[in-house]
Amino acid sequence: MSYLPGDDRLLGRTEAAGAAPTTPVDTLTARPGNLWRDTVQSILRQRSAQVGLILLTLLVGTAALAPLIAPYNPDEAVGIEQGLTTEQKGPCVHLFGCPEAQPEHYFGVDRNGRDVFSRVVFGSRVSLYVGVLTVGFAIVIGSVVGALAAFLGGGVDNVLMRIMDVFLVFPALVLAIAIVTVLGAGLINAQIAIGVVAIPVYARVMRASVLSVRERDFVTASRALGESGRGILFRRIFPNAMTPLIVAGTLGIAGAILEVAALSFLGLGAQPPLAEWGSMIALDRNQLFNAPWLILAPGMALTISVLGFNLFGDGLRDALDPRLNR
């Protein structure tokens, strides 16, 4: 294989489909013009990414416009103020034949008389915030650990990765429960616990990715061109090693939302009166037999959000991983 001046492979560009033709003049400074467009296009060609994107748009839109969408204050006992009888606490939609005189509650009101639809709508904010922040925390620490292990190699690599192995041995939820029990129940502590448990995953992904990128010809080329070690690490290796991390992170958000909701369901995460889906289910769990919608509404909201991140993550992986281009 021969490399010509201006060959993309020499410059360490993220290898998306269809590299831009470059002129020999700007070999060192050229930026691929249509890289982003190409990547976005190949992501949007994936059916799972399309569906995922729609669901995520729905989730983000709901979270952003929550005060406009929700008919009531999520923390206010409107059901009691409106003096609803037990039969009137169920779902009431005027369009579907609910008497006009009765106030509308799409998903009914909960045990404390709060409007469940409004709580589900505001819950999207909590889940989005929880998922993104938890994974962000884990990715930052995990990728630093992974990159250090890969770059320094030898003993450091061994020690760091064995420590990560130890954390991988614990079932995620069990370790998180142990951590939260000591730290004390609360949404922040639940996020810390889930984040800590997730660190090894990203450390491994980053390490593997850096190791493989480091051996590529464009890194050797940069070194031959006299680029500093730090420059090689941050300008050549890091950007090219990010792809698997982005994919793992997107899928990780789905997992984090699930796990924090599980902790909240067990009473270790979000505390009342915060409108969080997991704790909403825990609150009205005993009403399953006479008011299943109180469980179904937040349950489906959780499922749809997690599904969105999972599908989008799958689509990203298929689009960004050249090995999967069938």
Binding site: S48, R162, I163, D165, V166, F167, V169, F170, P171, A172, L173, V174, L175, I177, A178, I179, T181, V182, L183, G184, A254, L258, A261, A262, F265, L266, G267, L268, G278, I281, R285, L288, F289, P292, I295, L296, G299, L302, T303, I304, V306, L307, N310, L311, D314
Partner: protein, 358 residues
């Protein structure tokens, strides 16, 4: 082969040491006084001093770690604060429930998962493929506790009084009695470790009723396990189906498969013999890895279905602030996971000679 197993065992030791240290460190090094964790925020100074004295918490950290490891080696997992009983005793009672549930779920997940994976790979982009992948995506996205509650609602409320109704909680129906294994075998005066083993097996209702021929009780115990096992199996099932499909698709694209087809081997044989055999390795790995998801899921499943396994023990311990129990269960599940993955690694080497020769 023996050499491979020995080397693999040796590699496990530092990880095991790390696991023990982490469990110890969570309790002692994180902010938060263990006394307050155990006795509650309003514990008096005297109560805390007595507590520290009793659990050796007034010693220095390295000494405490020494005591902790020493106790572990002698099989002493500590005493439950809520029950006032040795934790090892509680585990012998409750771990069989979890093992039974987990194995039942894993069986469902493996059989159905591989079946669906093969079916969708064999007929790529067909209706069955699309449906399987939709179910798989849904399966990994629905929270275990939501699925469990929906199953209860559907099978115990909607289908109530039909032949399809299934019990929503517990291990046995009211009135069904199981003769304990030790009694059935006339071993009631047995003592020591053998008795522990007999009791342990006896607490796995499916197995003990099966080997003692208590068919009525066996059926009842099995029926009670169906819903929790389905709830628990969903995530592993979805992962196994996906992995089987993609692994098999990769193998089916290879030249020797084309050769087999060209020779006129029937399609069924091409897929199962030539294809699946070579595609099964990554699936085995996934099965091993899903154990973590199963044990995490068992915490939620047992809580929802009221099965007194170690999962429910954890959640009860949260409310009772019974930290020694949480610590012990965390340790035990980690060791369980470590052991299973060791077995998976060894079976991997067994299935693929290239690995053990590396």
């Amino acid at each position: 082969m023996l050499q491979f197993i020995a080397r693999r065992l040796l590699l496990t030791i530092p990880v095991l040491a790390g696991v023990i240290f982490v469990v110890f460190a969570i309790a002692r090094l994180l902010p938060g006084d263990p006394c307050f964790v155990a006795l509650g925020q309003r514990a008096t100074v005297e109560a805390c001093e007595a507590f520290d004295e009793r659990y050796g918490l007034n010693e220095s950290i390295p000494v405490q770690f020494g005591i902790f490891v020493g106790d572990l080696v002698s099989g002493d997992l500590g005493t439950s604060i809520a029950y006032g009983r040795p934790i090892s005793e509680i585990l012998v009672e409750r771990m069989p429930v979890t093992i039974e549930l987990t194995l039942f779920a894993l069986t469902i997940a493996t059989v159905v998962g591989i079946g669906l994976g093969v079916a969708s790979a064999a007929r790529r982009n067909s209706r069955i493929d699309v449906a399987t992948m939709m179910v798989a995506n849904f399966g990994v996205s629905i929270p275990v506790f939501v699925l469990g509650l929906i199953l209860i609602f559907f099978f115990a409320v909607v289908l109530k009084d039909t032949p399809l109704a299934l019990p929503p909680s517990g291990r046995l129906s009211a009135g069904v009695i199981i003769v304990p294994l030790a009694e059935a075998w006339g071993m009631t005066d047995l003592d020591g470790p053998l008795r522990v083993v007999v009791d342990f097996v006896g607490n796995m209702y499916l197995i003990s009723t099966l080997i003692t021929g208590q068919w009525g009780a066996f059926g009842d115990a099995a029926v009670h396990l169906i819903l929790p096992a389905i709830a628990l199996a969903t995530i592993p099932l979805a992962l196994i189906a996906r992995m089987t499909r993609s692994s098999l698709l990769e193998v089916l694209g290879q030249d020797y498969i084309r050769t087999a087809r060209a020779k006129g081997v029937i399609e069924r044989r091409v897929i199962l013999r030539h294809g699946l055999r070579n595609a099964i390795l990554p699936v085995v790995t996934v099965i091993g890895l899903t154990l973590g998801a199963l044990l995490s899921g068992a915490v939620l499943t047992e809580t929802i279905f009221g099965l007194t396994g170690i999962g429910l023990t954890i959640t009860q311990s949260i409310l009772g602030r019974d930290y020694p129990v949480i610590q012990a269960v965390t340790l035990i599940t980690a060791i369980l996971y470590l052991t299973v993955n060791l077995v998976v690694d060894v079976s991997y080497a067994f299935l693929d000679p290239r690995i053990r020769l590396e």
